[in-house]
């Protein structure tokens, strides 16, 4: 192998193979998937998430939540995702068509969040959990996101309506209250928007027994 040009061509052609196979072909097959329109109800799925949730998605990305939480439900019979209640059906490519970037995640240090909006719709739960995960999930190794909240003195008008309901060790002390900053509200709106159990032709829901 002393012939430079041959080496050069070999190097280029080998990578061209997977560039074609693993970049261009997936793009051809999945690159212009359209949302599904249900012919009975005229419901369209998926839909872009509304503004505040979209801002929350940026908070999610910026804090690196995707390094501990996946957003993909594996098919029934492969892993225990469905038995754990992380989704009613497996995730498919169409679920992700409006996401930039797609944050499938590669680690489940924490649970999957594909359907967290359905599994946990309560605002109170999300806010207290983000403020200090130990409030709702004793023994969790998720960090506290207290910097997404303001601790302030309760004003003359009494406690704010959006103040967190904290008790015991977690409460900020008498005369003080904890209220979410806009980032916390956005993040919770995003988490509550995560739902993907709409039936698709390629991903039917399991039949009720």
């Amino acid at each position: 192998m002393n012939y430079g040009p041959l080496l050069f061509l070999g190097i280029l052609f080998t990578l061209a193979g997977s560039w074609f196979g693993l970049v261009l072909m997936p793009n051809r097959q999945l690159g212009d998937l359209q949302p599904h329109v249900n012919t009975n109800t005229a419901a369209i799925y998926p839909q872009p998430i509304p503004g505040e949730a979209a801002q929350g998605r940026e908070v999610y990305r910026s804090l690196g939540c995707n390094y501990c939480h996946t957003q993909q439900v594996r098919p029934d019979g492969f892993g225990s995702d469905i038995q754990r209640g992380w989704g009613k059906r497996r995730s498919v490519a169409r679920d992700y068509i409006y996401q930039k970037p797609v944050m499938l995640g590669s680690s489940r240090t924490g649970p999957d969040l594909t359907n967290i909006g359905e599994r946990q719709p309560s605002y109170d739960w999300h806010f207290t959990h983000l403020y200090n995960p130990q409030t709702t999930s004793k023994g969790s190794i998720m960090p506290s996101y207290a910097y997404l909240f303001d601790v302030r003195k309760i004003g003359y008008g009494g406690a704010s309506t959006n103040a967190l309901k904290l008790s015991g060790d977690f409460s900020p002390g008498p005369g003080f209250e904890v209220v979410p900053k806009p980032e916390a509200v956005q993040l919770v709106e995003y988490l509550r928007s995560l739902k993907s159990s709409v039936e698709l032709p390629e991903a039917p829901l399991p039949k009720a027994e």
Binding site: M1, N2, G4, L7, F8, G10, I11, L12, T14, L15, G17, S18, W19, L22, V23, P26, N27, L30, G31, D32, R61, L63, G64, C65, N66, Y67, C68, Q72, R74, F78, G79, S80, R84, R90, S91, V92, R94, D95, Y96, I97, Y98, Q99, K100, P101, V102, M103, L104, G105, S106, R108, T109, G110, P133, S137, G139, I141, P143, S144, Y145, A146
Partner: protein, 497 residues
């Protein structure tokens, strides 16, 4: 002692010291000298990133079992500090030291001095400015959120320019080569510098600048992510092993044909491996299957390279005691075999079902990037630095400390965490085990990881101290013509028999 044929007294004392070999050594010294400033710049910057990256790693590791640690600031949250660690050690330490080794090896093997060093020095400066901006951006929260491509888009063009310069320079050196024979290390280096810009530009285009639709992004992401390891770090690591292993023990590579087989099968199969990171994900089955098949095919290059390295070493294991370069390089070569075969196993569906989303994967990544690549780069630096600075390593004790801390440290990292990750995966598969119980089960393994991280950090500090000491001894004794020998043992005969 056999009587030499030559009548001269000098050659009688040193039979291998002929006029021809003196010329060759003078030429090598001149080439080494030409690369000196540039290689040193890349090495020093790389080592600075290693220390920073290690600090980030320790913080991240500690946080994972003690989440209340430093949790009052967003920039120190796990999701950011972990990412800053990854980018500092991958694009700071590993890539920069790799470039230093690449330039030095390429000049030596082509028998060409490095030309117009100031241009390539500018590339080094660009690269580091880009990284400081980029990693600062990650800590601020500007990450792209795409694994292995987190550096924000205002930093990546700077990196791309720097990298393009490095690639062009490497090819220019190759183009003006005076040695017509192409050694196996040159194949790997050439491949690495040509593959990387292609990977990086495709990924930037389809993920950051003009994102593709939906899961195509994840596909491109892992095509890139796996290939950064497979087509950039791996070939450079192998190039270094192929050079230093025979060089230090003074005997040629076992089989030319095995190295050809190893190279072309790696080129053919490795770049199709990426989608084994997506097993079980929202993709058509053909995409996953094709990557699993290619991953299993990797057995061919891995085993042929392993046989080649091992048979070159056979009968020379005693030299591990004396040569710091050889110790690290052999540790790296053995780790390459083990971690690659373990990677093959991880790609298969039944294994992935358990291990995929667990700490097992993290352990595997460190097996490849640290036990193989980083150790190989340490070994290379032990060989190169005395030759470009004309100074010998000041402290044998620090070398030993470096070796044992990093070797034992990475074993203590990888073995327990692989096992703990497997247990985590098994527990997760059982849907009746509450998730928080799974989390609690990982804690002992995560704590062991922090201990191993402390060992690694100590090793890094020892190496850095030795390096600074070496550079500080500007008026110290010049490098001796013999290779660096550990353990205070003087070899009985001149090395090379």
């Amino acid at each position: 002692m056999s009587t030499p044929a030559s009548p001269s007294v000098m050659s009688a004392l040193s039979p291998r010291d002929t006029a021809e070999s003196r010329d060759r050594r003078a030429e090598l010294a001149e080439i080494d000298e030409s690369t000196s400033g540039t290689v040193l710049l890349f090495f020093l910057a790389g080592m600075a990133w290693l220390l920073i990256g290690t600090l980030f790693a320790l913080i991240a590791s500690y946080k994972l079992h003690s989440p209340e640690f430093l949790n009052q600031y967003a920039w120190l949250t796990f999701g950011r500090i972990r990412t800053a660690h990854l980018n500092a050690v991958i694009f700071g330490f590993s890539a920069e030291v790799a470039v230093g080794v690449v330039l030095w090896l390429m000049c030596r093997l082509c028998r060409v001095p490095l030309m117009a060093q100031s241009v390539i020095n500018a590339a080094a400066i660009f690269w580091n400015v880009g990284l400081v901006i980029g990693i600062g951006g990650i800590l601020r929260g500007d990450t792209t959120g795409i694994e292995y491509l987190e550096l924000p888009k205002y930093a990546t063009p700077i990196l791309f320019v720097a990298f393009a310069l490095i690639a062009v320079w490497t090819i220019v050196v190759f183009r003006f080569r005076r040695e017509r024979h192409l050694y196996v290390s040159q194949w790997y280096i050439l491949a690495a510098v040509l593959w990387f810009p292609w990977l990086y530009s495709t990924a930037q285009l389809l993920l950051v600048l003009e994102p593709a639709r939906g899961t195509v992004q994840a596909a491109v992401n892992w095509w890139f992510g796996h290939n950064v390891l497979g087509l950039w770090f791996t070939p450079i690591g192998l190039a270094a092993i192929y050079y230093f292993l025979p060089k230090v023990i003074g005997r040629p590579i076992h089989s030319y044909y095995l190295s050809v087989l190893g190279f072309w099968t790696l080129a053919l199969f490795y770049n199709w491996n990426g989608f084994h990171h997506l097993v079980g994900g929202p993709f058509p089955a053909w995409m996953i299957t094709i990557s699993i098949v290619a991953s299993v095919m990797m057995v061919i290059p891995v085993v042929s390279t392993a046989i080649n390295h091992h048979f070159t070493m056979v009968g020379h294991f005693g030299k591990l005691k004396y040569s710091p370069t050889l110790r690290f390089i052999v540790f790296g070569a053995v780790s390459y075999t083990i971690s690659s075969l373990q990677g093959v196993l991880s790609s298969v569906r039944w294994f992935s079902e358990v291990a995929h989303f667990t700490h097992h994967t993290v352990a595997h990544a460190h097996w490849g990037m640290y036990a193989f690549f980083t150790m190989t780069m340490f070994g290379s630096m032990y060989y190169i630095l005395p030759r470009i600075t004309q100074r010998e390593w000041p402290s044998e004790r620090l070398i030993s400390l470096h070796f044992w801390c990093t070797a034992l440290g990475i074993i203590l990292y990888v073995v327990p965490l692989s096992y703990g990750g497997w247990l985590q995966g098994k527990a997760m598969l059982n849907a009746t085990t509450p998730f928080l119980e799974v989390v609690q089960g990982t804690l002992p393994w995560l704590k062991i990881r922090t201990v191993s991280g402390l060992l690694l950090a100590l090793g890094h500090v020892a190496f850095f101290a030795n390096l600074i000491w070496l550079l500080a001894r500007r008026f110290g004794p010049y490098r001796q013509p013999e290779p660096m020998i550990l353990a205070g043992v003087t070899p009985a005969a001149p090395v090379g028999k």
